[in-house]
């Protein structure tokens, strides 16, 4: 971590960058917030540990409007989002100095699932310790690092950064699950089971918009669900229809653009597995139109702004059973 701070300081001092976008430490190990640092002094609060799950790419939209370059730390999976935003002209590559920072899997405090946590030891150095030591008001306990990881890290896209100016730190591919297994499991259900499953998940939705607002693909200046232009403004899920409407349309709007960064599922206060929507589209796109990874590059045509003459017909949905 100190190397990251030192490098950031030297880039700030040399004037190559005007500010640093990273993570700031808070009250506890897991209390980590995305933050801009404008000086070497401020960087004393910089932190990089296992709880730095937040994808900083989206903050680069605002940073691109500022004078000078912004040094941004991107984990391998964050770089896909950055590329996608570049492709859509939402961030300016020239305004970013990207340090591709190593990542060995990020943690979710809810997964540690212990009341009264005071401290989590081992979160900073996943390599050194495969076991997290958790100190709580009600006694200490141990949790394996893997079991505390974010869902997305179990289906890690790999340790390569898609875009960077320099790289620091080691990465590890933490995938240990089939990315589409959950989707396939639902697909195999009967319509009644599918309906019941999503009904119970979506009925929890409080329409806080955290999934939307954190999503790098949901970068609209004004979302259709906030806009009166489309007759679609909604502030609450008054009926179960509105829960579905919001999540279907949100997933559709990011279809072919979603990099599967998993931020939506990370931030949902109700723990709704929102990635199941996006990943369904990704699975369909891969199966029907050929493998596609949004954000792997900045110039390919997205699957929904492209076509083949011999694309399958929509009736494939019925024929698939």
């Amino acid at each position: 971590m100190q190397e990251l701070i030192n490098r950031a300081k030297s880039l700030l001092e040399s004037g190559e960058v005007s500010r640093v976008l990273g993570w700031r430490k808070g009250e506890t190990d897991w209390d980590v917030e995305p933050a801009f640092f404008n000086s070497a002094e401020e960087l004393s609060e910089f932190i990089y540990n296992g709880f730095c799950g937040a994808n900083l790419s989206k903050y680069m939209i605002e940073a691109s409007k500022l004078e000078g370059k912004t040094l941004v730390f991107l984990k391998p999976c964050d770089t896909y989002s950055f590329n996608q935003l570049c492709k859509e002209h939402r961030v300016d590559r020239e305004k970013a100095y990207i340090i591709g920072v190593g990542c060995k899997g990020k943690l979710k405090i809810e997964n540690i699932d212990a009341a009264g946590i005071l401290e989590v030891r081992g979160a900073g150095y996943p390599d050194a310790s495969e076991i997290l030591t958790v100190k709580t008001l009600y006694g200490d306990r141990e949790v394996s690092y893997k079991s505390a990881m974010l869902e997305r890290c179990h289906v890690c896209k790999g340790k390569e950064h898609m875009v960077y100016d320099e790289r620091m730190g080691e990465s590890a591919d933490t995938s240990d699950a089939d990315r589409f297994a959950e989707v396939a499991k639902i697909e195999a259900m009967s319509p009644e089971e599918k309906f019941a499953f999503f009904q119970s998940e979506l009925s929890k939705c409080i329409r806080c918009n955290a999934c939307r607002n954190v999503c790098p693909a949901c970068s609209c200046r004004k979302c259709v669900f906030d806009s009166t232009k489309f007759d679609s403004a909604q502030k609450a899920n008054t009926t179960s229809f509105e829960e579905k409407m919001f999540h279907i349309i949100r997933a559709f709007h990011v279809a072919g653009r979603c990099t599967d960064c998993g931020e939506c599922s990370r931030v949902c206060p109700q723990g709704i597995p929102l990635h199941l929507f996006n990943r369904k589209f990704i699975k369909d796109i891969n199966a029907l139109y050929g493998d596609y990874q949004a954000g792997a590059d900045t110039d390919s045509k997205g699957p929904l702004t492209d076509f083949r003459l011999d694309d399958c017909e929509p009736s494939i949905v019925t024929k698939r059973g």
Binding site: H89, R221, V224, S227, G302
Partner: protein, 662 residues
């Protein structure tokens, strides 16, 4: 708030017999914003239209719903009527209660209920309509004709005679097309070349016509009145300006074993060649696939013998870009390939030939100098069998489902010519039907039968079997006499189906013109707009639109020319106002809309935006309304809803949905 008038048409009894029009009027008056509703027997009549005008004047209507026939029928009529009464024409919506309601439903209550719902949807839409103004675009006063056959030549001459510039793009080395390969023409039996070549010369000499032979259309952009076309002028390796057309190069060329396309491969030509003697321009091209100089680097005979110094091996393809106001497609046809018709022994026996090959055999400039002889042994045939409908009117996928239209007549022509010139040669024709509609056509066919003794047999040929003695055994049926026929023949001629040139699909795609399942270009309306493509500014001439003979082709060519002249005579065109429009406050500048625009109508610019007090430079989409055709692909791609389509806006369509579902 709109003040809406609803006008329910009886269409005589077409609507009123099934829909209770009075009830629809009554229901309309309950709708929000509807201040006037009435019914009338014929809304589209003068009297009906003046009722609309009167209501607009009296009630101060701001929007109109006409419940009548399909908008495809009378939307324009009612829009004009509204405009005459001082209302913006785009404040009119049609509820289609005839085609979509009264004509398909029998139960009056049910049809009335549906008509009411359709009326409500139209009223809901009109509430959100906004006056639209058609834009204007300039017209480039120059036309492009793709294809230099008789269709293209005639169209070009007619346009040029009206005083407009025309370019002909022909992919082969000479204009003339299929007709130049024909020997005689039915039903007059005049020589094809004698009537075609003067036309070719006229086109070549016309001050308003520029001919690009050995050239192909590479790229088309733009829209009616303003097309930009890239034309690839393929390298001839012969300088057109210097060549005198003396022909010495062709005589001296050592590479002489190349199948002669003009003679359908029945004889050979040299590597440097002009396709036929009367070619225009009379300038040869070098076939680089056959030329020894190009293949080995050694030879150069043509360069040495050319007195004019016209040979230039270093010539390159050249791309020229031209602007046109109108484009005419005249890409013509070819005969289908007979690979799948093994039963006729085509390809197995040299004496089984297609009718087009027979044209070349009969032609004095053809491979046999016009002598009717077997291509296998040069003997004069004594028994000739013609087989009709080879690949035409075919129900399986080997051939074409349509009638090729010209075969009955040219077969009668061939039969008659042979019987006339070689009276001791017997001619038998197997046919399914003899189709001879047309001026002097049936008389012509009857002359073949009655005066020339051609033997017509109604029935199909199952098989042609080459015999060891070189003759052909034809197995067929006579449907009238209900018997099998085995006939020995010296020559079999196949009336092969015709199909549009294979290039047409590529060209249609470039022009965004639609094509039918048989690759014929689709007309804007099969009856009323037969020479226009649905794509504005693109016109159809000749067989590319459907099978036709020479007089029909020439007639259509002239008709297409008149449409082009009508277009070019205008200085400006009114553009469709139902185009996409981007709300720059909502636009993310993400470029997704531009990716799906088929017309390249969307560009981006960075401009200072004042978004409720936040002032910043933003990249926003800008729609060129002259290029936009209003498909709406962009509107769905836009996640924020910034892109919307005038006349079919998100809210308008949603209002219709709501009205239908309520």
């Amino acid at each position: 708030m709109q003040k809406i008038g609803v006008f329910v048409c009886h269409c005589g009894s077409n609507i009123a017999a099934t829909v209770d029009v009075k009830k629809v009027v009554e229901m309309a008056l309950l709708e929000q914003g509807v201040v006037h509703a009435e019914d009338y027997p014929y809304m589209c009549s003068e009297a009906g239209q003046s009722r609309i005008a009167a209501a607009i004047a009296e009630k101060g209507l701001t929007g109109i719903v006409v419940c009548s026939c399909s908008p495809r029928m009378h939307e324009a009529t009612f829009r004009k009527a509204a405009e005459r009464a001082g209302l913006n024409p785009y404040m009119v919506e049609i509820a289609n209660i005839r085609e979509h309601c009264s004509w398909i439903h029998k139960d009056m209550a049910e049809a009335t209920e549906k008509a009411t719902i359709l009326m409500r949807a139209a009223v809901a839409k009109v509430h959100l309509n906004a006056p639209l103004q058609a834009g204007e675009s300039m017209v480039t006063k120059r036309a492009l004709v793709i294809g230099g056959g008789i269709a293209g030549i005639q169209t070009a001459i007619d346009i040029a005679d009206a005083g407009y510039k025309v370019d002909i793009v022909e992919k082969t080395p000479s204009i003339g097309g299929r007709m130049s390969q024909l020997d005689k023409t039915f039903p007059t039996l005049d020589c094809s070349a004698c009537i075609l070549t003067p036309k070719m010369v006229e086109a070549a000499a016309h001050e308003n016509i520029t001919i690009h032979t050995y050239s192909e259309v590479e790229k088309v952009s733009g829209f009616v009145g303003n097309f930009t076309v890239d034309i690839r002028k393929k390298a001839r390796y012969v300088d057109i300006a210097k060549c005198t057309g003396c022909g010495v190069c062709q005589e001296k060329c050592p590479s002489k074993k190349i199948p002669n396309e003009f003679n359908r491969g029945l004889n050979n030509r040299s590597a440097i060649y002009t396709p036929f003697a009367q070619a225009i321009p009379n300038v040869p091209v070098i076939d680089t696939t056959a030329c020894i100089k190009f293949k080995t680097g050694k030879c150069g005979v043509c360069e040495k013998v050319c007195q004019a110094g016209a040979i230039n091996y270093k010539q390159q393809d050249e791309i020229i870009t031209e602007n046109y106001g109108a484009i005419v497609v005249a890409t013509g046809f070819d005969t289908i390939k007979l690979d799948q018709y093994g039963e006729y022994a085509y390809g197995q026996s040299k004496d089984v030939i297609t009718s087009l090959e027979l044209e070349r055999v009969m032609n004095a400039a053809g491979p046999t100098k016009g002598h009717l002889e077997r291509l296998s042994d040069g003997k004069a045939p004594k028994e000739i069998v013609f087989i009709q409908c080879v690949g035409s009117r075919c129900s399986d996928d080997r051939g074409k489902p349509y009638c090729s239209k010209i075969c009955c007549m040219y077969t009668a022509k061939h039969a008659m010519l042979i019987r006339d010139k070689y009276p001791d040669t017997n001619v038998t024709v197997f046919y399914i039907d003899v189709r001879t509609p047309g001026k002097n056509f049936d008389e012509f066919y009857r002359r073949a039968v009655e005066d020339y003794g051609v033997n017509y047999i109604k029935g199909q040929v199952g098989k042609v079997i080459p015999q060891p003695d070189g003759s052909l055994l034809v197995q067929g049926v006579d449907l009238l006499d209900q018997k099998q026929i085995l006939k020995k023949a010296d020559m079999v001629v196949l009336a092969t189906a015709i199909e549009p040139n294979t290039d047409v699909r590529k060209i249609a795609t470039m022009l965004t013109a639609s094509i039918d399942t048989n690759n014929f270009l689709t007309e804007a309306h099969p009856k009323l707009r037969p020479v226009e493509s649905p794509t504005a500014g693109v016109f159809l001439s000749g067989v590319c639109q459907g099978p036709k003979d020479i007089p029909e082709t020439v007639a259509q060519a002239g008709a297409a020319a008149v449409k082009v002249i009508g277009l070019l005579a205008k200085d400006k065109l009114k553009t469709n106002p139902c185009t996409a429009q981007s709300d720059e406050l909502l636009c993310n500048g993400c470029s997704q809309c531009a990716n799906v625009c088929p017309y390249g109508a969307i560009t981006y610019e960075t401009k200072l935006i004042n978004d409720h007090g936040i002032r910043e430079d933003r990249r926003v989409a800008v729609v060129n309304s002259a290029l936009c055709q209003g498909c709406g692909a962009c509107t769905v791609t836009c996640p924020s809803g910034a892109m919307d389509l005038k006349g079919f806006s998100n809210r308008q369509i949603l209002a219709e949905v709501d009205a239908i579902c309520r």
